[in-house]
Symmetry: C2
Subunit: 345 residues, 2 copies
Amino acid sequence: VAEGRRRTLVDVKRGVTSYDVAVRAGVSQSAVSRCFKPGASVAPATRARIMAAAEALGYAPNAIAQGLITRRSNLVGVLISNLTNLNYPEVLSELTRRFSERDVRVLLFTLQTESDVPQALTQLWRYRVDGVVAAARLEPAAIAQFGARGVPLVLYNRDGEGAAVSSVCCDSRAGERLLVDRLAQAGRRCFGVITGPADSHVSQERVHGATERLRELGLSFEVADGAFDYASGGVGVRRLMMATDNRLDALICANDVMAIGAVDAARHSLGLRVPEDLSVVGFDGVGPARWASYNLTTVRQPVHRMTESAVAMLLERIERPELTPERRLFAGELITGGSARINDD
Amino acid sequence: VAEGRRRTLVDVKRGVTSYDVAVRAGVSQSAVSRCFKPGASVAPATRARIMAAAEALGYAPNAIAQGLITRRSNLVGVLISNLTNLNYPEVLSELTRRFSERDVRVLLFTLQTESDVPQALTQLWRYRVDGVVAAARLEPAAIAQFGARGVPLVLYNRDGEGAAVSSVCCDSRAGERLLVDRLAQAGRRCFGVITGPADSHVSQERVHGATERLRELGLSFEVADGAFDYASGGVGVRRLMMATDNRLDALICANDVMAIGAVDAARHSLGLRVPEDLSVVGFDGVGPARWASYNLTTVRQPVHRMTESAVAMLLERIERPELTPERRLFAGELITGGSARINDD
């Protein structure tokens, strides 16, 4: 009885079936099925007749029922934290567009903080996603769930912290080391660093890269806590000026938006000249970093190449689950703006 | 044979069934089903036993198979154009969070332009979404498809242009009329307007509101085409200065990002003082509008209340398809910043 009911619902739910389309187009039912299967071969004239009949009847193949048969949902999950961060909307937009071009849909999970992951995973398993791109922190236990369920996972801008998992990252450490080197070469001697939120892996990598290089060069520095937002850039620069008895001459912010907040506070509240009195650098290369009022010196993430790689790596692993994990690390691009005078060659 | 194969796949796909959970927890299979059905009543102690058993076995109910039985997918489609517009990431983040709190998942469709809708709709029908929120332009024929398929639709920041469809909007016309009034009261006499993209309904409403009020007041104005981005604000202000023989003293931009571009170009390229020589106003109330370098005078959309309403209206109509369409129009909030000196009471 249950099977009978289910079958009825699958077939008659919206009224029109592939059989109706086949009759109207004067083709076999299997030709209609092939026509809606990506990559299957159908003669152009036949395809045109089928599409016209499908359009006229309002027929659309049921992707969910198809998924039950093919074991594919053609859904991928995207976990992303804090969309109001200026970098992530571009990442999400690129990922969605690229998946869509491959006929794959995005089931979106936005997290308020990177610590909200377990709840999102419970939902992911319910929807039988074919794979997941996660721009959020996954604990080793969470990564292990993907392995146990055979669901491919690609981490975006973080690696597995030891776990064997595929990832696409911008090289945060190398980027920050480069910024420190150039500021030091330009004669800056008293450094400040503003961090992102404590649970952000990206922040930890960037701060680690900068402070590691500062220590190697024997340069003095102070660290202030930030939150990746505009306000915390302003608060941070004030704290660091106090902590250094106003000797601060180079400020490294763990992202562009905090650098923008720091530039505004330095100029409009502290009466400092940027870059003459204080050099300020960010990280990301978001759109507003290029606005004339800021013109930030920063490291730009190659978002196009990174999202392209994430999508390709995930779809490859959905097709061929036996592939081993792969890590791709992209160098960021140094952008020399007006917020820090450095030698860029 | 086909039914038999389908049944096998549904039940054994990931190995663990509700029966296994029921046996381990020592309860009936229907208790397990109730436990995973939102709103169904299960004694707390029973629920705890079931959840522990489910966790131990790695059981997750199959939302897609459930959807075939309940006729619900618990998926809603969100159509949104141009995520890199600074207003939409906040809208998307709020919508996703609110749906998620109601145990509903978001299938995301991002459009490069508002004209990409038909393709997205073809996909939407394949996934049997329960309903759709569209922050993108739908032609009457597209809106009619929702009616014919019985899929509830709520338009975000645009109405059906005559079609009977639910919508949540910020009152663009009233907001623009208010800005014109305040600029005129402050003695501004030579106006310019920078539009958004030609296919943007929001742009059309805003430009219509502003120019309608300018005509009523008998004030002269010029219009320049923009694209809702930073660069077109700068291009627009230069064109309008030329078109008015440098007499332009009030500039109305159809969104904040163009106003920011115009402020930067006015100050850094044209050598004008803002607001002394030129008052600039935007629309949206995005985060960067409050950055100290801009401090825009603008109209803020009540995004929290608008997204809350859109989610509530859609879920109501999924529950009760017989409800008639409803339009909610929210007044924007005038924010008096430093980019235009106006009297704000």
